[in-house]
Symmetry: C2
Subunit: 140 residues, 2 copies
């Protein structure tokens, strides 16, 4: 029998160094709601129906304090990861203006062959963060 | 002025080693539709409205062949990352059965304090893959 059908992406994870800087970026600059923070370990942000998890890798490579009740498996990567936030096509110009107004360096800004636009920036830990027209992967 | 509002997670990325094994896992075992593959570099899978990107980090740390037309910024992490697929609450038992029928090792399987269940397994590269009741992060 085949697998049940996943309804979508629930969480994406990136690894960071400084949780205050991470909050300023994802919560402040990108305007995402902070869901929860554990100092020294993680801060999570709501993004539509999904959640962006930002972790300090050294802390998530070991079992958490409450591992007996919540045995969350360890993980933790080093080096720049990637995450992409969906945006309304008609708001891509507004995203660009918002980033420019905040003196954020835009690393790339282009249109894919199907006409969808992507804007790329870096979070404070160096992860590649993309803001893309949500039609980017839509079926043709 | 505040940031525009992202409509959700569009992409989550993990780094892998063997694209065939990766396809067997995400496409075969987890039943996700393969969107595109570039041998030696990446394979992408549709997951609801989002996309799971799997990359060979050594290949994505350098500019891609068509960087002049599509200047996708480099990224690439080493070590186990994390991604979570949303599932219908009433299908969590079916996910468990499906994984067991396929002799997949379930690393963890528990209920969060709010009653949502998560099942964790590893992809062939060692990334922590979670299948979670999609109500996990729902507002109370």
């Amino acid at each position: 029998m085949g697998a049940p059908v996943s309804t979508g992406l629930l969480e994406a994870a990136v690894y960071v160094e400084d949780l205050d800087a991470t909050e300023a970026f994802y919560g402040g600059l990108l305007g995402l709601e902070r869901l929860t923070r554990r100092d020294g370990r993680h801060v999570f942000f709501r993004c539509g129906e999904g959640v962006i998890l930002t972790f300090i890798a050294e802390a998530t490579r070991v079992p958490s304090d409450d591992a007996s009740a919540l045995p969350v498996p360890p993980h933790g990567a080093i080096g720049p990861g990637h995450v992409c936030l969906a945006a309304k096509a008609e708001e891509m110009n507004e995203w660009e203006r918002h980033l420019r107004e905040n003196n954020v360096e835009i690393e790339a800004d282009f249109f894919w062959p199907n006409g969808a636009r992507s804007i790329y920036l870096r979070d404070p830990a160096g992860n590649s963060v993309e803001i893309a027209d949500k039609t980017l992967w839509r079926r043709g």
